[in-house]
Symmetry: C2
Subunit: 392 residues, 2 copies
């Protein structure tokens, strides 16, 4: 049995929450009084409880901490599987270990562990020696299906995973940790100068936002409007989805000239090229095209506060009275305590841009009010995406 | 409304599982017959279902895929918080945003997003403008408490996160992606040559295995034995926990000589130095010390198959008749379909070592039988750790 003098050495595998709450309060009281938390006393108390052998509910374990801290393992395992085309190959039918390893170029040493890890993570099924896609991975991670959302994961794998390695440095300096750090061109300059990289980036943007695009196309009260412009339209999926769902509308996709061919091909394949056209431009240098509805999806978060406000003013100027400005993003909740993804997206902007940050619906409505919009509201879309609507 | 010719463009936000199963079977049938999966037909069918507007249960969404693929964000956010000592600072009492940012050296640009992300992830509490630890982070991530498990996360942050960036390369080549790739010394040679790094590594090993150590100290039938040796003992926490819980036992920690001072200090602090001693050695060159019980925790997975078998034989040789060999690891389940952590630990060995891999209880029992052990069994410990016991 443990010597009571030694219990400071003992790590309790699971500790009742009820006593920890008490201790936590005691800690804070001590701190307020300027005293040190009585760590040893607390641990002694806990160890006695632990050694009493009672089974208690609501016990503290380090599992969630360890699981989250090591979550880059399942992330990178899935990202490598997307990179190696595992799900695209299996969409043609199940494959044996050897056949799949050969097709994907996997060295025998790690192949079985890798594929079985994907089984254990729920991304592959295995029957006997044959691997197959799950329903989800077959639908969403087969590159040959229009429902493919792997673009964002390809970008996460190639670009975001490595630069997030420098998160601490970004937090300490407030400076981006991508090409900007080494004095190379700005992220977007570089992206637009590389056609292959640009196409991957645009497809990634489509993959991550299509569910929200379809919701906007159906949920927004389009019957009251005739024209729209999607600012920073990228591949044009939002414009296409709006046109598909609302045959009375004509729309524009507005973006830098390099995007034009990619946008126009996309609109033609969707059979909406007669109602949806591309307008080249640069929102830093020009006014926005006039339309009944101005949309900006995942644009404002790229920029610093003064640019956010400038774009909000330009949207106001492009609208007629009664026109609508629709901003959609993975909004941070107003209390900044729930939407972890939105908050981490803002950390991603810290790493990727000189001044960008994500924001709450309340933040965005305040900028809209400041620009002159009379009515503003927030409406949820899907997942963590919401739209902020301002009526002129 | 969507033109039926265009539905291939539409990504269904959520699709009933029931129809996907059917389609998945159809895909495989087609593939077996040499035909291509009829993707467009399937998507048309799905889009019709989707557009029927019915709310269905069991719908497919990409959420789990996206959440897992982006899980390096919460992982790195937590790892940076450990690195910056956020939880250790808050263990002294709650702090305001400005005070905490100043103490941790956080630049104002990202500080609030970072700390609020930790709130949203459940690792900090916030009341008004003041941040405080949760019960879990206060217990497990305060460096000044013996219950600190952040050592493994410090190593994950400094070492594992960056080298996992090269998982794809490891899978394609079967070769490690750490210092070994650049022709530097082997991982362990390098570790043992760097006292500061060694201490961090050993503390990390203690943090990750203490819960299992305590379980072994209590759950194994120690009453039948008098002596034990812990092979690859590191800081010595397993030996210490066994001695604390079983006053009739005398034990040895066996490891390379560099570990000696760290081990002895640890045993003294725990008041068990009279019953637990350090034996320096190298298990490649020498026989193991004789004892009633030989333990190896997280050792076998570092090595290739022939080394695993050699160590199992040496354990057999070190035991008297009736003696026990106890191997404990995050065992892969025998079906290799459940313990994702064990399988990814094996991928970690792929990245870190020339031949290491993790294994199932059945694998380990087979090696024990081959070495001459008469009885073998597997017993669960805590979390994903289990022990394999072989009786001579």
């Amino acid at each position: 049995m443990a010597n009571p003098d030694n219990i400071g050495m003992i790590y309790p595998a699971a500790i009742p929450v009820s006593c920890l709450r008490t201790n936590s309060h005691r800690n804070r009281r001590n701190a307020r009084c300027g005293g040190n938390p009585r760590v040893h006393e607390i641990l002694r108390f806990l160890a006695i409880l632990l050694y009493s052998g009672k089974q208690m509910t609501n016990q503290l374990t380090p599992e969630n901490i360890l699981k989250t801290g090591m979550a880059f393992w399942p992330a990178k395992t899935l990202l490598s599987a997307v990179e190696l085309g595992v799900f695209t190959r299996l969409a043609q039918g199940s494959l044996s270990l050897d056949a799949l390893a050969e097709q994907a170029g996997l060295h025998p040493r790690g192949a079985r562990d890798f594929l079985d890890a994907l089984v254990a993570l729920g991304f592959l099924d295995r029957e006997g020696d044959r691997y197959s896609n799950t329903s989800e991975t077959d639908l969403f991670l087969d590159r040959n299906k229009p429902s493919y959302i792997g673009g964002i994961l390809e970008m996460a794998n190639r670009r975001l995973y490595p630069i997030w390695s420098d998160l601490t440095q970004a937090l300490l300096t407030g400076k981006p940790q991508n090409e900007i750090r080494t004095g190379e061109a700005d992220l977007f300059e570089k992206l637009y100068a590389d056609p292959a990289g640009l196409k991957e980036f645009l497809a990634a943007m489509t993959g991550v936002s299509r569910a929200a695009n379809m919701t906007i196309a159906r949920a927004f009260p389009w019957h009251g409007y005739h024209t729209f412009v999607d600012v920073g339209t990228a591949q044009g999926d939002l414009a296409v989805q709006i046109a598909l769902a609302n045959s009375h509308l004509r729309g524009m996709g507005y973006d830098r000239p390099e995007v034009g061919p990619i946008f126009e091909q996309y609109a033609q394949t969707a059979n909406v090229a007669d109602r949806v056209s591309f307008v080249p431009g640069n929102f830093f240098e020009e006014d926005l095209p006039q339309a009944d509805v101005v949309l900006m999806g995942h644009i404002l978060h790229d920029w610093d506060l003064s640019t956010k406000k400038m774009l909000t003013r330009k949207a106001f100027d492009a609208l007629p009275a009664g026109g609508a400005f629709v901003v959609y993003e993975s909004l941070i909740d107003d209390d900044r305590s729930q939407n972890a993804f939105g908050l981490m997206m803002s950390l991603n902007m810290l790493i990727e841009t000189p001044g960008g940050f994500d924001f709450t619906g309340a933040d965005c409505m305040a900028w809209m009010k400041e620009a002159g919009f009379s009515n503003t509201r927030v409406e949820p879309l899907v997942g963590t995406d919401s739209m902020v609507i301002g009526i002129k």
